[in-house]
């Protein structure tokens, strides 16, 4: 099967400082890939660069469009980049407040992307918004409530509904469960696992938590100091880590 995303020799610098360097991987349709590593290892930099939210300093990212043709993201203009983000991709931020529109209702948050795609039937928008609230385990009766009245976990579930409502082909997630209580995290991870399976989503998810990778991702990429030090099947990496840094990460998970 042909890849959805091809990342080759990707690097991003902040002045002299390395954000990430020489990263290559493929992502296939329906695949969830985790990027793990400690804080400062370059996970967010890599994710944002792959998602074309910032320009690479070196290397390239290619995306296979719905029609089958390859798009070189570095050569994309702002209009095309936004169209892609609106019509084919989704992005879930760590802090739901960054990804939500806090001054409008939960229903409007879910319906916004549909309206951006041109849907102009109010009752249809309501119906879909209710359905998605239910899907992310938010009482549909709260459709007209402000997201500011929601708990952190609910806000994150609302952001997930808002992102997935247009059935994107590719979703980027940056530590979507970090900063939440462990029990709340577990619920969101279960939810994500279910939705990813139901929708056949392709996704790149950043996490510093190997347990998250184990639960969600068939394949994992381990980063240290901006570089990928190990990549492979998640189970293999966890059961038989090759790189000393990965061994350290794995053992620290096992001891805590």
């Amino acid at each position: 099967m042909s890849a959805l995303l091809q990342v080759r020799g990707l690097g991003r610098r902040y002045g002299q400082r390395i954000g990430c360097e020489d990263v290559s991987f493929d992502l296939h349709p329906g695949e969830l890939l985790c990027i793990v590593g400690e804080s400062g290892s370059g996970k967010s930099t890599l994710l944002n660069t792959v998602a074309a939210q910032q320009a690479p300093s070196s290397g390239s990212v290619r995306y296979r469009q719905r029609g089958g043709g390859w798009l070189e993201l570095g050569a994309l203009g702002e209009a095309d980049r936004r169209r892609l983000a609106r019509e084919e991709w989704g992005f879930v931020t760590q802090n739901p407040r960054d990804g939500l529109r806090l001054n409008v209702s939960a229903g409007a948050n879910v319906a916004e992307r549909l309206m951006a795609l041109g849907m102009r039937n109010y009752s249809q928008l309501r119906g879909i918004a209710r359905g998605w609230l239910e899907r992310v385990e938010i009482d549909p009766a709260r459709i007209d409530d402000a997201p500011t009245s929601f708990s952190g976990g609910m806000q994150q579930r609302l952001q997930i509904a808002r992102t997935l409502v247009t059935q994107p082909r590719l979703v980027f997630m940056d530590e979507p469960t970090a900063g939440l209580d462990v029990s709340v995290q577990a619920r969101i991870l279960d939810l994500l696992r279910r939705l990813v399976n139901e929708l056949g989503l392709a996704a790149v998810m950043v996490t510093h938590d190997l347990a998250v990778a184990r639960l969600l991702a068939a394949r994992t990429l381990v980063m240290q100091g901006g570089r990928v030090v190990e990549t492979g099947l998640t189970d293999q990496i966890l059961d038989d880590p090759q790189h000393p840094y990965t061994q350290l990460l794995v053992s620290s998970v096992l001891t805590t």
């Binding site: 702002e78 209009a79 001054n103 992307r113 309206m115 951006a116 039937n121 109010y122």
Partner: protein, 277 residues
């Protein structure tokens, strides 16, 4: 102290006219301009006044309305100002005016090709309440990415059961630019569509001009199942009996007695004279 004709110096007028030509060339697009200090505070229509000053010639006949009335303080002051600094003739009759400066209304009397309507605009950016960042709203306009405006209409229906926005109701000009019609009642929106008169909009504080050229399509946004509708009244104007004009509810005595009357004072008196004749 002496003034140049119509107060502004010729260089400033030329700058304004250039901006206006650009605005006419790109219907609904907000053109930045170097707004000048005017001898009136912002909120008194300094944007509209600068547009009017750039357009006035000695033969023009000027009408100024505020909420439809020619006799409010704001309207009287602006009219007096131009009479003094340009010596132009002024009128209260819509049909006699060549240039009409307005705040919050479009006259009921149909406008003609040889007339220009100048609107005073407090906030030219229809997306501003939803998106405070100027760079972002500019990008949204550049890409015609207007889903956000429907978020506002969606919220209206969710909260009130219908689109409650009743003035400054957003429009799409020439099928391209999302535009604020200024705080006119939505009752007046249909008058914008394919109007024979040139419509110009000036925002002094925000330093933006825009235009709706004659016969340009102007569409009021809505949902398929919540179409655009204008205000309607059970009552008729208690002064002239009109059932088609925009009505204001006014308190007429200190016991709180109310009545409905035309907001367009010139239209109302014209209608009364017709009835008497």
């Amino acid at each position: 102290m002496t003034y140049n004709f119509a107060f502004l110096d010729e260089d400033t007028k030329r700058m304004l006219r250039r901006a206006l030509l650009k605005a006419v060339a790109i219907p609904g697009y907000q053109v930045p301009f170097g707004s000048r200090e005017m001898p009136l505070p912002y909120g008194w229509g300094t944007g509209g006044i600068q547009v009017t000053a750039a357009l006035l010639g000695p033969d023009d006949v000027l009408k100024v309305i505020d909420q439809g009335a020619d006799d409010t303080t704001n309207a009287v002051n602006i009219r007096r100002f131009f009479h003094r600094v340009a010596g132009v003739a002024t009128t209260e009759h819509t049909a006699e005016a060549t240039l009409i400066q307005t705040r919050h209304r479009i006259p009921e009397t149909s406008l003609r090709e040889d007339q220009i309507l100048v609107f005073q605009v407090p906030e030219p950016e229809p997306l501003r309440t939803l998106e405070p960042r100027e760079a972002e709203t500019r990008t949204l306009h550049a890409l015609a990415d207007y889903g956000l405006m429907h978020v506002k209409l969606y919220e209206d229906i969710a909260q009130y059961g219908h689109i409650a926005t009743s003035y400054d109701y957003p429009v799409l000009v020439d099928g391209r630019f999302l535009t604020s019609p200024s705080p006119i009642p939505k009752f007046d929106n249909p008058k914008l569509d394919r109007s024979p008169a040139l419509m110009l909009f000036g925002a002094g504080r925000e330093k933006r001009l825009y235009a709706i050229p004659p016969y340009t399509s102007v569409e009021s946004l809505a949902f398929d199942d919540h179409p655009f509708e204008i205000q309607r009244w059970e009552q008729q104007c208690e002064l002239c009996g009109s059932g088609e004009s925009y009505l204001d509810e006014v308190v007429v005595d200190d016991r709180g007695t109310r009545m409905f009357v035309c907001s367009d004072t010139d239209f109302c008196s014209g209608h009364r004279m017709e009835a008497q004749a």
